[in-house]
Symmetry: C2
Subunit: 341 residues, 2 copies
DNA sequence: TTGTATGCGTTATCAG
DNA sequence: CTGATAACGCATACAA
């Protein structure tokens, strides 16, 4: 006894009407008499009628769902962002399909292809730290798929973008450390070519200049896997913190990278912020209590997700060709949060 | 210049064949000549043909997507489980739609209704800690929607379930603490009526008996919000740890609950495991380095997710009526992991 | 105001 | 071996 959903046809038959009348009545068309409308709507209600989204999609060539590509959801920044994405999407009547690249280019391409193969009306993507070739995204964009780049945007691809003011964020973070007496501040990023990292590096360098601190290229390090592999971070930190002229503070440019730094410091009995100052990007609620006086920046994950989704939904339902790009850069407050020492 | 996906019809026209021939060739039907088959498949490949899942769904009354309801994705157990779910679902050709209840009953009902109305083919759910009324799920099950209960199952609802051996897990955890010299072990759960908590409580009590430790009802506490609200946990811990006869160890029965305990201890300069022993459920990779010798149990999140999904996919494609329930309880290894002190 | 016919992309069932 | 046609559920242009 399988559950058979009631269709417009069933209603039409039961009420001795045509399917089109029923359809129009349910859509509250002006050309239907109030009486018929009422009869249909009441009966539909009673039978718990639900329009079949698949049939709708077939007609409109829409799936009413949007795809999301992030590096991983077990990341406080992205899981918060996803909350924002979902809340907007649901209100707009969209489902959200989340995929994870695990910082792998190959995986990202697979995910994007899968989403694009008509299971999705639009895509929100934060590229993997490994991605340097963007042809899969350019292709998609050229085919007319609405895409919003999120957080980790691609500078040289013309499309819609939502990101934070990474330059100012890194600038503020560096200034903060400098003002607290740190003289040799290191910069730890994930991927050198990632736009958000480039911007942060620029902000970092500007802050060094403004606080008259020397710029030391040895203090700039990258972990391609973005902290997904602890050992990679460990190797880099070892390299960074060896010798006599080692840094006395670090700016860590990713959620997991920050976690890994803390882990490494714990393991090696390095005290934060006494031995080493540390500021981590992203919203790690753990870091607040892990190490007193560790500062954490960028709290607007939810808003960023929500904004990106609003933009995407707008793009999807927009009648204008998607090719009329409007770059939109969102600048959320970058918060330096300090806990008491 | 909107992107128009290539359809079977297009291929048929281009190759001077009928749509049915093309369809059969692509499905590798035995009644098509090798030559035609090759011609069609090659052309389809070249044109990057992708079958339209919506049209497929219309025929089969399927959406090829499954819904997931968890309390939150920013939870190491669930985000790992979701990885398992997605990997199986993806291989079986299903999309995964994730929703979060945030431990709210109301939210859970909304999510379930939403998923059901958008006609996912099946649902994997881990109920919220607030949920005590299961009519929304019973209703759905009675309508024939394949449902697999995951992790936080409902004991008195007859359907398919995948969970871990919580009784043994708690038993082992408690024994571990007892064997390490702790005498007054407290039990911290989220919701009293949650089956996994009841089972863990039973295992805890049995372990107390077996290690000849007294059972003290004051040592059993609950945080309904499952750690989502730190202050709630803090209040409970304050209550638990006051007085002279306070516990010397705690079993924390949820991911965030464990985190909150650590946060509270940090704040109050309580050393783990010297002042208080602590074992937390779920897979918190952070805890490993946060506090030496903190033990963490249940590593099988990925496998559990994968198993639940396999079961669900099987249910969906099963021709038998879904009402023939088979309870399936998965018993993953419960691991007590220790880091060096 | 209502009904009829058509099409969205695909597959199954007939015919040939 | 291949082709024509109906059907899935819905919306809509066109007819009445």
């Amino acid at each position: 006894m399988k559950f058979e959903p009631v269709t417009i046809k069933d209603i039409a038959k039961a009420l001795n009407l045509s399917t089109s009348t029923v359809s129009r009545a349910l859509r509250d068309s002006y050309e239907i008499s109030a009486k018929t409308k009422k009869r249909v709507i009441e009966y539909a209600e009673e039978m718990n009628y639900m329009p079949n989204p698949i049939a709708l999609g077939l007609k409109e060539r829409k799936t009413r769902s949007i795809g999301v590509v992030v590096c991983e959801i077990a990341n406080s920044f992205f899981s918060q962002a996803i909350n924002g994405i979902e809340s907007v999407a649901y209100n707009a009547g969209y489902n959200v399909i989340i995929t994870q690249s695990n910082e792998s280019y190959e995986r990202e391409v697979i995910n994007v292809k899968h989403l694009a193969s008509r299971s999705v009306d639009g895509i929100i993507i934060s590229i993997s730290s490994e991605t340097t070739d963007f042809s899969h995204l350019k292709e998609l964009r050229d085919k007319g798929m609405p895409i919003v780049f999120f957080d980790r945007i691609v500078a040289d691809i013309q499309t819609h973008k939502v990101t934070s003011d990474n330059y100012m964020g890194a600038y503020n973070a560096t200034m903060h450390l400098a003002q607290n007496g740190y003289k040799k501040i290191a910069f730890l990023g994930n991927a050198e070519y990632l736009s958000i990292i480039k911007e942060r590096l620029a902000g970092y360098i500007k802050a060094l200049e403004d606080s008259k601190l020397p710029y030391n290229p040895d203090f700039i390090k990258y972990c391609l896997h973005g902290g997904l592999i602890y050992e990679e971070t460990e190797t880099v930190l070892k390299e960074l913190l060896k010798g006599k002229n080692k840094p006395d503070a670090i700016i860590a440019c990713a959620d997991k990278l920050t976690t890994n730094c803390l882990r490494y410091f714990k393991k090696n009995n390095v005290s934060v912020p006494n031995d080493v100052g540390l500021i981590g990007f992203s919203n790690l609620d753990l870091t607040e209590w892990l190490q007193p006086s560790l500062s954490v920046i960028r709290q607007q994950a939810f808003e960023m997700g929500a904004n990106a989704t609003e933009l995407l939904v707008q793009l999807i339902s927009s009648k204008r060709p998607v090719k009329q790009f409007e770059n939109m850069v969102l600048v959320p407050n970058m918060i330096i949060r300090e806990s008491s020492m």
